[in-house]
């Protein structure tokens, strides 16, 4: 469980470390803030000009100056070490994790294209699996994203995983992370909850039979809400049962249909685009499904081969940057 504040719940081990660092800095900063602002406000009262009070004639002292420089330097030194070592782990050091899942991301105005290497484990071959807008990844496994863009700079952002990396045309950027919680929709409370693999495996999670709905929130509730509830852009999210579609559920990696409505529905994380990329930058949203192994394979198999998409990858990525296809 991550720090509360306003941060989205964190689902990756690395993200938890980031949050921890955030909290450490936050506390350091709060202390400095209180001391400095406190001194400031205190001086305004204690040393206000009043009859009989005279300012001290004092040009400062090197000793105090050095002391005042030393105290922050120690903090700053700590910060460089703390964030430097994390950065080293995250971006510089690389160990060989042979079991990692590799995914290519081709950002374009205004959608996300994904490509999986397929059974042969090689990108740029006929058995590659391609999807648009929705990405799936296996939970508890390292995922390596190979990111580039087709037109302008985008930025691949999964808030819950605390990862972000620019997608730059003509350049391959990489990023890796591991997701250890899976998002499901709790029908009872109408809210998203996060389950770890164990809990996920232990419960029935609906894969089909429901449709995700979002509509402007009705009625009052949030503070400063205007009369026309649409004004402040709050939304209501829900899953509606689609009639006549069977409910497929997964439990312990096994798939079955059920008649009784299960408690959980498979939900998603969101991908945001964090770099200004044009008119519809605000709408360049994608989704991430975090799945168990069996589900992941099933999802891969479900993706239809689409010739236009294949042509897009071949025309842009494979043709101009075949070197981006190398994995190991």
């Amino acid at each position: 469980k991550g720090p509360s504040l306003y941060m989205p719940e964190v689902v990756s081990p690395m993200g938890r470390e980031t949050d921890h660092l955030y909290m450490v800095i936050l506390w350091i900063v709060i202390v400095i803030f209180v001391i400095t602002e406190g001194m400031l406000v205190y001086s305004l009262f204690a040393f206000r000009d009043r009859p009989g009070h005279k300012a001290r004639f004092f040009h400062g002292s090197t000793f105090i100056e050095v002391l005042l420089a030393l105290f922050p330097s120690l903090i700053l030194l700590y910060l460089t070490v703390a964030s430097g070592s994390m950065w080293n782990d995250l971006k510089i050091k690389r160990t060989n994790d042979k079991g990692a899942v590799h995914i290519q991301v081709l950002a374009e105005q205004f959608s996300w294209n994904f490509r999986y290497p397929g059974a042969d484990g090689v990108f740029g071959t006929a058995d590659d699996v391609i999807s648009v807008g929705e990405m799936a990844l296996p939970a508890d496994k390292t995922v390596v994203m190979h990111i580039s863009a087709k037109d302008v700079i985008h930025s691949f952002f999964i808030p819950e995983a605390r990862v972000k990396q620019d997608a730059v045309p003509g350049l391959l950027t990489k990023m890796w992370f591991r997701v250890d919680h899976m998002p499901v929709w709790d029908r009872a409370t109408g809210k998203r909850v996060l389950l770890d693999t164990e809990a996920y495996n232990a419960s029935e999670v609906a894969l089909t039979g429901y449709e995700f709905k979002s509509e402007p929130k009705k009625g009052k509730g949030a503070f400063f809400q205007a009369a026309d509830s649409k004004m402040i852009g709050l939304m209501d999210y829900s899953y509606a049962r689609s009639e006549n579609t069977p409910i497929w559920v997964v439990k312990n990696g096994a798939f079955s249909t059920v008649s009784a409505e299960p408690q959980y529905i498979r939900h998603h994380f969101e991908i945001g685009c964090a770099q200004l990329c044009g008119t519809l930058h605000y709408a360049m949203r994608g989704t991430v499904l975090a799945l168990t192994g069996a589900e992941f394979d099933r999802w891969l198999a479900e993706q239809q081969a689409d010739p236009t998409l294949q042509a897009k990858w071949a025309e842009i990525w494979d043709k101009y940057h075949p070197e981006f296809n190398r994995i190991l």
């Binding site: 690395m14 782990d89 690389r94 060989n96 890796w176 070197e323 994995i327 190991l328």
Partner: protein, 139 residues
């Protein structure tokens, strides 16, 4: 161009001028040779020398290819530029502040060039070599 306005004879300027012309001729002619190739074969030659038990075979292979031309060309350019700065622009008799001002810019010039190229040369290797060993830790 400072308080003590030295009177310089023409002689000095002609000398500098001739040096500049000479250096220009040199760079142009050098551009017709593949210095990197010459260097490589030169080193090869030296390595093959055997004087009894003494061998120079331990010398490393040097293959910088076109880089050698660039290096030499830029060194000559820097020499030429220094001549112009020092004599024609009278930096050698200039006030301290003026040297400082210009010198600081030249330092920034090299800072920018170094960092920029460092970043981008890395990109090339990143795409090829590092990627070759890349995979992954963290999580």
């Amino acid at each position: 161009m400072s308080e003590n306005k030295h009177e310089h004879g023409w002689g000095q300027y002609y000398l500098v001028f001739n040096a500049l012309i000479f250096l220009t001729v040199i760079t142009v002619s050098l551009s017709y040779f593949d210095l990197g190739g010459l260097l490589t074969s030169g080193v090869e030659l030296v390595r093959s020398i055997k004087l009894g038990p003494v061998s120079l075979g331990f010398l490393p292979d040097i293959e910088i290819g076109h880089g050698a031309n660039i290096l030499v060309g830029m060194i000559v350019a820097v020499i030429k530029a220094s001549l112009v700065l020092w004599f024609f622009m009278h930096q050698r008799e200039e006030e301290g502040v003026n040297r400082l001002a210009f010198g600081f810019c030249v330092a920034l010039f090299f800072l920018a060039l170094t960092v920029f190229s460092f970043d981008f040369v890395w990109l090339k290797t990143y795409a090829f070599e590092e990627l070759a060993q890349a995979a992954v830790g963290g999580g």
